[in-house]
Amino acid sequence: MSGKQTLAGLDVQSAIEMHYRSEVRMLQNGQYREWLADMVAEDIHYWMPIYEQRLIRDRRPDPTPDDAAIYNDDYGELKQRVERLYTGTVWMEDPPSKIRYMVGNVEAFDAGDGEFEVYSNVVVYRNRRQLEVTVHTLGREDKLRRVGDGFQVFRRKLLIDARVTQDKNLYFFC
C-alpha cells in the first residue's frame, strides 16, 4: 500500500463493507457454493503464502506465487475444496463445527476500471465438538471488481500472523 492510492470514497467503502458482511454470513452458514458462484471471480488467485522468521538483515525477497504457500489456488482448485465439504463423508464436519469471523479495518482504494484494492483484518474463531476452540488472525489484501450490483474478488492474499499454526488445520475460507 502506498500513499499514492486514492481512497474509494464513502459510498464504495460502505458498499464493500456490506459485501464483506454478506460474504462472512455465507461462510458462517456453510453456503460455500453460493459464495464461490456469487463472490469469487473465475480468474481468482487465492493465496496464503508461508512467511519464514528471518533476521532483518536478510535480503531475500518475500514469497511469490512460485514459492511455498498454504493456499495457492485458481478457481477450479477452490471449487474442489468447496465440493469436498458437500460429499457427506468429511467426518470431522459431522456434526458440523462452528466458525465466526470478525472483519475490521476495511480500507478500500480505487484502482480504476471498476476495480478496488481493499485491505482488512480478520479474526477467526472456530469451535468444534465439545471444547475445541481455536483462534486465527490474518491480514487480507484483496482486489475486487464491480460485477452487477456487487463485487467479486479476483486476487486474495491472506497473511496469517502465526508462524506455527495452533490448530488441526486451516481448512476454512477467508
Binding site: Y71, R84, L85, T89
Partner: protein, 454 residues
C-alpha cells in the same frame, strides 16, 4: 510405566494404550529413542551454500544446522553455554557467526565459542572458550538428506537406515538426480501422541478409503476406487507393505505415484521419462516401486508420501502434542515449473489446509485423548491385520506383507519401538540383529506364494 510390563505384544500384535498417553513412557522414549536414533534435520537443498543455516528440532531440543565453508554440515544445540539463552531465532538465513542476544557471546558456524564481549576487561583473559562451544550433534547425510544423532554409540546413518536403503535408493537416487526438499516448511501444532501420525504414514492403507472418502471422490483418478473401502477391490494385486530391522517401513500402491495430483503432467512425464533408467540400474521390482505411491515412515518420527511428495516431521511436545513440519519432495533435475506444481499439489492435499490431511487431524488427536479415561486407558489397541500373510521375500529385503492394506509395517514399527525401549544401549540392540524378524513366523509365505503362482 515400569508397572506396565507389556506395552507392545509382538505375538498378539497389539499395544497398550499407555504408549499414546503415559508420561513415563514418553520420558523413556526421549532417552532411549529420540536421544539415540538418527533424526531428520534437513536436506542440502534447504541450505545449499556455505554459511546457509536452518534452525530445527531433534524431538524437543532446538538445533542449528549450518553449511560449513568446506561444504560439510555441522549441527549444535541452539542454546548459549553462558546462561542458556536460545542463540538463533531465525528459521533460516546465511551467517558466519551466531550471536546470543542476552550478553552477546558469539558462536562460529560449527558452534564453537569464538568471542565474548569484554573478554579481557571483565573475564581477565581467563575464560576457556575452547570448552564452551555449543553442544555438538553428530551429523551424517544420505543422498542429500541430513540427519542428526545425539548418541556417540549409535551406528552410522547408513547402518541405521540399513536394508531400507535398498528401497530409499530407488527414489532418493532414482535415475540419478535424486530428490530434494522445498521449504519453507509449514508448521502446526496437533494435540496427539507422535506415534499416531508416524504409524499412520508407515502402514495405514486401510484408513485411506474411509477417512479420505470425500477428498478421493473430488480428486478422482486412480485412487477414487478406494473410496468407501469396497470389498470388491483386488487389494492383493494393488501393492505391498514393507518393514525393516530398524522400524522403517512403507506401503506401496502400484502405478499410482502422481495419483493424488490433479495437475500432474510435468511430474507424470518426469516419471515416464526416467523409469527405464531406474529399471536398468535397480531392476524391474524397483522400477515398479519407482512408479508406485508410497506411504512411508523413517523410524522414529519422519514420514513422507512418495508420489504425492509431502514430507513430514512429527516433533514431539510431550506425550499429547506434536509440532508438525511439512516440506515438499521434488526431483532435483525436474524443471522449475514441474517443481512448483508438485509443491502446490502436495500442499493442497497434505498441507495445513490439505484436502486429505485435514481429514486426519481428529483421528490423531482423539486416538490420543480418549485415553484420559482410566478404564479406557487400561485397554489395548490392535494391529493384527494380515498377520501371517507376510514374511521374508526372495527379492525384497526386510519383511514383506501381501497387500498395502494391512498392518505389517505397524508390526515392524512397534517391534523396533519395543526393542529400543527395552534396550539399555545400542550394544543391546545390535545383539538382536540376526533374530529381529523371528516374530514374523510364516517364513515360507513368499516362496509358497511364488511357487503357487508358477
Amino acid at each position: 510405566m515400569l508397572g506396565i510390563p507389556n506395552l507392545v505384544d509382538n505375538v498378539a500384535s497389539n499395544q497398550s494404550r499407555e504408549i499414546f498417553w503415559d508420561k513415563d513412557v514418553y520420558n523413556l522414549e526421549l532417552e532411549r529413542i529420540f536421544a539415540r536414533s538418527w533424526l531428520f534435520l534437513g536436506h542440502e537443498s534447504l541450505l545449499p551454500k556455505p554459511g546457509d543455516f536452518i534452525t530445527t528440532y531433534m524431538a524437543e531440543d532446538k538445533v542449528i544446522l549450518s553449511h560449513q565453508q568446506d561444504g560439510s554440515f555441522r549441527a549444535f544445540i541452539n542454546s548459549c553455554t553462558h546462561r542458556g539463552n536460545q542463540i538463533c531465532h531465525a528459521d533460516s538465513g546465511n551467517a558466519k557467526a551466531f550471536v546470543c542476544n542476552y550478553h552477546g557471546w558469539v558462536y562460529g558456524q560449527d558452534g564453537s565459542l569464538v568471542d565474548v564481549p569484554l573478554e579481557t576487561r571483565c573475564y581477565h583473559g581467563q575464560l576457556d572458550k575452547a570448552k564452551l562451544g555449543a553442544k555438538h550433534i553428530r551429523v551424517e547425510t544420505y543422498k542429500g538428506f541430513i540427519f542428526g544423532c545425539g548418541d556417540a554409540d549409535a551406528p552410522s546413518l547408513e547402518e541405521y537406515l540399513g536394508e531400507f536403503r535398498w528401497y530409499l535408493d530407488t527414489i532418493w537416487e532414482g535415475a540419478g538426480g535424486g530428490l530434494e526438499l522445498l521449504g519453507p516448511p509449514m508448521k502446526s501444532i496437533l494435540a496427539c501422541n507422535w506415534k499416531v501420525p508416524a504409524e499412520n504414514f508407515v502402514g495405514d492403507g486401510y484408513h485411506v478409503g474411509w477417512t479420505h472418502a470425500g477428498a478421493l471422490m473430488q480428486v478422482g483418478g486412480e485412487l477414487a476406487g478406494l473410496a468407501g473401502n469396497r470389498a470388491d477391490m483386488p487389494f492383493e494385486k494393488l501393492g505391498f507393505q514393507f518393514t525393516t530391522r530398524h522400524g522403517h517401513g512403507f506401503g506401496v500402491i502400484n502405478n499410482a505415484a502422481p495419483a493424488i495430483h490433479v495437475k500432474r503432467d510435468g511430474w507424470a512425464k518426469y516419471l515416464a521419462d526416467t523409469r527405464a533408467e531406474v529399471g536398468r540400474k535397480f531392476g524391474p521390482e524397483r522400477e515398479e516401486l519407482y512408479v508406485g505411491h508410497w506411504n512411508c515412515s523413517l523410524f522414529p518420527s519422519c514420514s513422507f508420501l512418495y508420489g504425492t511428495n509431502t514430507f513430514k516431521v512429527w516433533h514431539p511436545r510431550g506425550p499429547h502434542e506434536i509440532e508438525v513440519w511439512t516440506y515438499t519432495m521434488v526431483p532435483r533435475d525436474a524443471d522449475a515449473e514441474t517443481k512448483s506444481m508438485i509443491q502446490r499439489e502436495a500442499t493442497r492435499s497434505f498441507g495445513t489446509a490439505g484436502t486429505l490431511e485435514s481429514d486426519d487431524g481428529e483421528n490423531m488427536s482423539s486416538s490420543t485423548f480418549v485415553n484420559r479415561g482410566t478404564i479406557t486407558r487400561n485397554g489395548r489397541i490392535s494391529s493384527s491385520m494380515g498377520v501371517g500373510f507376510e514374511g521374508p521375500h526372495p527379492v525384497f529385503p526386510g519383511i514383506v506383507g501381501s497387500s498395502f492394506i494391512g498392518e505389517t509395517s505397524h508390526r515392524g514399527f512397534y517391534r523396533f519401538w519395543k526393542e529400543m525401549l527395552d534396550a539399555p544401549d545400542w550394544k543391546a540392540v545390535k545383539a538382536n540383529d540376526d533374530t529381529w524378524d523371528s516374530m514374523f513366523t510364516n517364513r515360507n509365505y513368499w516362496n509358497d506364494k511364488v511357487d503357487a503362482a508358477e
